[in-house]
């Protein structure tokens, strides 16, 4: 299926020895931002995937090892972060100024 599974929640059932998981949450004004659109861009800045954050502001991607960029869009503003992911769990936070 191409629709995003429910964001956030346990990592049960995800094989972290093979999957490269990039996950985290979006924050603004000291609170998580629910319903923000978070997109994953590859090293050439090309769109790879997009999810909507959970009520707790969480997002999760299944990527591959390498350089990635995360960008969030929400009515309150946008945020961006570059990260280098490896096989396993890669956690980060996007803060909207």
């Amino acid at each position: 299926m191409c629709g995003a599974p429910k964001q956030g929640g346990a990592l049960a059932g995800i094989d972290l020895t093979t999957q490269t998981v990039i996950q985290g949450s979006v924050w603004h004004d000291g609170a998580p931002v629910a319903g923000a659109y978070v997109r994953l861009l590859d090293s050439s800045d090309e769109f790879t995937a997009e999810v909507v954050t959970s009520p707790e502001g969480e997002f999760r991607f299944f990527a591959a090892p390498g350089e990635w960029k995360l960008r969030s869009l929400a009515p309150v503003g946008r945020a961006e972060r570059v990260l280098s992911a490896e096989v396993g769990l890669n956690e980060t936070t996007l803060a909207i100024a």
Binding site: M1, C2, G3, P5, E46, F47, A49, E50, F62, A64
Partner: protein
């Protein structure tokens, strides 16, 4: 066919909610978004449970489609205005699907749910019921749907447009990156396909780029407007988005969507596969 015949703005949609003869329909894979809030008066379609046969991998048949639309209160005379999440992927899929069954008066809300939410436009959680109708569908129009044999025959002959992300095209990923990496048996792409990710046709807020930008995008990628075209992705919903761009916005004739897409092609025995960018 031009942009104004097939696409409406969020602003237009908001002004026309509740108009007689218009039915707003939200299409998603995960309908929990609709349940939390939807355009006022809009009915929902579930991409999976409403539009896919529960047993075989295929569409619902003509009779099932008629029963579905009748139950949703959509009549043959209604103009159906579609929108949804995932940058309108599933709404574009439904658009193509409605066309396949002969419903001509269909439009998309530009930007779908995302643009609507980013604009902070109102959503309603009120339950929507419409009186049932007696909907009559046409026989499926297979001039817009491609099957595997003609896809294999199209290698080096027709335009094959792979609309997945560059990493999926190259064979580094076998599924979009918001999903666990599983799906087809083999990664890669159909030989001679050009890679024009669906996302290049959309702005960040989910709206479609201008006709001029779109024409330049496909010309630059080596798309030959004189040839027939087949678009594909992984399961056929992102390629519906590109089918919409090529057929409905840019007016190309003979554009088909291959809904079997990579989950079928990448699991076929014996067909050629290419890897790398």
């Amino acid at each position: 066919m031009s942009r104004s015949d097939v696409l409406v703005s969020a602003e237009w949609a908001q002004e026309h909610l509740g108009d007689a003869g218009l039915v707003f329909v939200e299409v998603d894979e995960d309908t929990s978004a609709y349940d939390k809030g939807h355009l006022e008066g809009a009915v929902k379609l579930d991409w999976k449970t409403d539009l896919q046969d529960p047993l075989r991998r295929d569409f619902v048949d003509k009779e099932q489609f008629e029963a579905l639309l009748s139950a949703k209160g959509i009549s043959n005379d209604d103009t159906v205005v579609l929108y949804g999440g995932n940058n309108n992927w599933f709404a574009a899929y439904a658009y193509w699907y409605f066309k396949l069954y002969g419903h001509d008066a269909v439009k998309l809300v530009d930007g779908g749910r995302k643009k609507w939410e980013l604009d902070s436009r109102p959503l309603s959680d009120a339950e929507v019921t419409r009186p049932a109708t007696q909907y009559t569908a046409q026989e499926p129009d297979t001039s817009i749907r491609a099957f595997r044999d003609e896809v294999v025959a199209a290698i080096d002959t027709k335009n094959l447009v792979d609309v997945r992300s560059p990493d999926e095209f190259a064979g580094k990923l076998v599924a979009p990156a918001h999903l666990p990496q599983e799906g087809a048996q083999r990664p890669g792409h159909i030989p001679s396909a050009v890679n024009v990710p669906w996302s290049k046709a959309a702005n960040e807020d989910g709206t479609f780029k201008s006709d001029e930008e779109l024409a330049a995008l496909y010309a630059d990628a080596g798309f030959d407007g004189s040839k027939e075209t087949i678009a594909y992705c992984r399961i056929g919903e992102r390629s519906s988005h590109t089918w919409f761009v090529l057929k409905e916005l840019l007016g190309h004739e003979n554009v088909k969507n291959y809904d079997g897409s990579w989950t079928e092609y990448g699991s076929l025995v014996g067909v050629p596969i290419a890897k790398g960018a």
